[in-house]
Symmetry: C2
Subunit: 147 residues, 2 copies
């Protein structure tokens, strides 16, 4: 089994997609993450759903749970609604790191190791720098338990 | 909005559940992760789906993508099927780290920060050391975009 055999179409966003629209996609299509394309249709980044949340959370709350605790309920709700004001560009991590991107010939072991290393339930499959689709953790698990 | 308002029942496993059974739960119920209970019904750990995969991936493949590349397709498939031989006990990370566990009074900001910090799309909600259920990334996103 190779990545190409489990690759399926996957919705994409661009840097200019609003985070609200991205959150709507995640919610309505029950996606585990998002694939971000550059202007030429090439994958620029993969954002696991949990990392989209970083945008709504002030830095001091990311680092200090005790400080988060003192934010009252109304303000906490407001932070999460502030997602609407940002774009996907703001959600990308600053530090370059390994991206969950592979080629169609990757084995399932390579895909699994990549998902585990990057904590990403979505791996983008790319050929000739163009996105073919994605392998999801769900697709990989479905395959692993039925073989 | 508080954690209790978005808490829903969530399937659990124990240390002795086979990884195959855990993978079947993840697959069939489309869960983003697993809550592991100890013998007294208390949450011991939360395993995001991507981390269940670690069990099927030899350590040298986790660290070195080039080594993973040289494993042929038949052996790669076999590694993933070897999930069946292990239990959840084997899947728990050795290093203690922050767990995505909170109390019912946590605000949505606390839940979001916890998901983002721990890369976990599942947060267990615990009261008096007993599991009430879980808040999922899906539930949080659904709430965030409709308010």
């Amino acid at each position: 089994m190779r990545a190409r055999d489990l690759t399926a179409p996957f919705p994409t966003v661009t840097l200019d997609t609003s985070v609200h629209e991205a959150a709507r996609l995640l919610s309505e299509q029950r996606l585990p993450g998002l694939i971000v394309l550059d202007g030429r249709g090439r994958p620029l980044s993969i954002l696991p759903g949990t990392q989209v949340l970083r945008l709504a959370v002030p830095a001091y709350c990311m680092e200090d749970p005790m400080l988060t605790r003192v934010v009252d309920e109304a303000h906490a709700d407001r932070f999460l609604r502030s997602l609407a004001d940002r774009t996907v560009r703001d959600a990308l991590p600053e530090q370059p790191r390994e991206l969950p991107i592979t080629d169609p010939d990757a084995t399932m072991l390579e895909v699994a190791a990549l998902m585990a290393r990057t904590h990403s339930p979505v791996v983008a499959v790319v050929e000739d720098r163009q996105l073919l689709g994605a392998v999801t953790l769900q697709a990989l698990m479905d395959w692993a338990i039925t073989t």
